[in-house]
Amino acid sequence: MHLSEPKQVEMFWMMLLARRLDERAWVLHRQGKIAFHISGIGQEAAQVGAAFALRRGEDWVVPYYRDLALMLCLGYTPREFMLSLMGKREDPSSGGRQMPSHWSLRRVNVVSHSAPVATQTPHAVGVALAIKLRREDKVVLTTIGEGATSQGEWYEAVNWAAVHRLPVVFMVENNGYAISEPVEKQMAVEGAAARACGLGLEGVAVDGTDALAVYAAVARSVEKARSGEGPTLIEARMYRLTPHSSDDDDRTYRTREEVEAAKRRDPLLRMRQHLEAQGWLTPEGLERMEAEAKALVEDAVDYATRAPYPAPEEAAYPVFSAEVRRG
């Protein structure tokens, strides 16, 4: 599964842009300009690797709340992210109804998800069932944190997909923590990939800080799904470099030494070093990318800051389809 130089550079660009947007969200929160942020820092490699393995805009994606880099790869814009952070009317995911990072983007087949974890997994399986019923060759990618693989609904959904051999790829973003609880409080097996053996599908563990490794694993699973050979469970192992959310204080449950050690395995750094070693990224090239990312982030913040809030009475709808208003 070879990826060309431009593709690999593009992957790095998406990771970089996601990182700078995410960092800016933390700053906005500290400045009191947004009420909440939930971060994907440290998880960009896996998300970008997975996205590049899809027919983006055609395959379906049922994500979870840390997937900013994945969303950017699918066509979600920096402006849209900032609109969501600020609860503005133009936020395409929910018009300011949902908390930030609760994605929905119909134009590229990204399904709306909620906050109770693992509720999205059965939806991904239902989409895959519909694809199979209609004999189409699309696939579904659904993501989740490792903590949520303890949920019954996750087991039910994965089991169903295995029984019916549905075209779905389950990617667990194992970032080591479910808020404060480390992996060993979620499972007696070594990792989420091992959960697959009792459910009758292939389970694959992959280094989630290596975008190319994740790409290879997901591309193979997508191909398998597309050719009717059923689902795969992929566990991408990584580390959550930030607190759970802007309301969390991770100093209460993990040491600074542990976090600092993990930062030395930062996936963004890893991808950069890989490209530099290949001679595909020069200092000047990196500088240009950083400048472009900064400009996009500033533009997004300015745009979203000036954008209007929803009118209060918009909270009354749409409870039912007949109340949906466009524009």
């Binding site: 995911s93 929905s104 399904v111 509720t119 997994t121 059965p122 939806h123 239902g126 089991n159 109340e323």
Partner: protein, 327 residues
Amino acid sequence: MAEMTLVEAIRRAMDEEMARDERVFIVGEDVGKRGGVFRATLGLYEKYGPERVVDSPLAEASIVGVGIGAALYGLRPICEIQFADFIFPAFNQIVSEAARMCYRSNGEWTVPLVIRAPYGGGIGGGLYHSQSVEAFFAHVPGLKVVIPSNPYDAKGLLKAAVRDPDPVLFLEPKKGYRLLRGEVPEEDYVVPIGPAHISRPGRDISLFTYGMMHYYALQAAEMVAAEGIEVEVVDLRTLAPVDRTTILESVRRTGKALIVHEDNLTGGYGAEVAATIAEGAFEFLDAPVRRLCGPDVPGVPFSHPLQDWFMPNAQKIADALRALAAY
């Protein structure tokens, strides 16, 4: 027109909708070869095949959750929950997901989904095959709750539910599956979701009920008619969104209201009807609003004398009507 039972009318509705629209499919436990434990899907597996009459794993959360996913993709699933008592594992999917999808995505995603579930007691089913669950769900904005009381309405309402763009919980009085009989047209028709039906006009007391209790309400009305008490029986048919206009107009004519349901009293659906009357027809009342409901015990007990103590019946309703008439 042919006379048929309630369950035959329900089967006919599904058959006609599956023939009319290839997006319609059925999913649930034992719905395939077995034709459903109540035989509601009898013959449909042979007629439409295993892809459109899907035997699911024994897991209710995913029956609904997978249905939601298929609905998001554009199919029209009919999910069968074998007994309403077993719907609670799917509560999260129904309440957090199906009912909220349209609102939370600002109308980007809608869930055209029907969930069928047999409900109610008086059949020797004990605590876990007898429950009435409507109050839990009628509370939820974004969800429609329908309960037919006769075969004609069952066919027309179920067809309306399948064509509805939003999630509909269709609760079927299982005691009436073969007991309730009536004329049902062969041709295509729908009974709209929403309007209540005055099934017996009367000037003395308004009796609000639905589902199986409607059958006993008509018997009770007949019993007290011989004593000169003219009861107006209002079959609510749809609990959400409820027909407040018909409720209030009826009470304004009669000045007295009795509400009957087999679900237990406290926090039951009758409380909502009583509040509607108190708010909208207070000055027309000649007596306190009365409720005749199941008692506040944790379920319908199994042994016959215990079950009879629990269940409202024609005699108990007639006694309540006499007491109210005498007020």
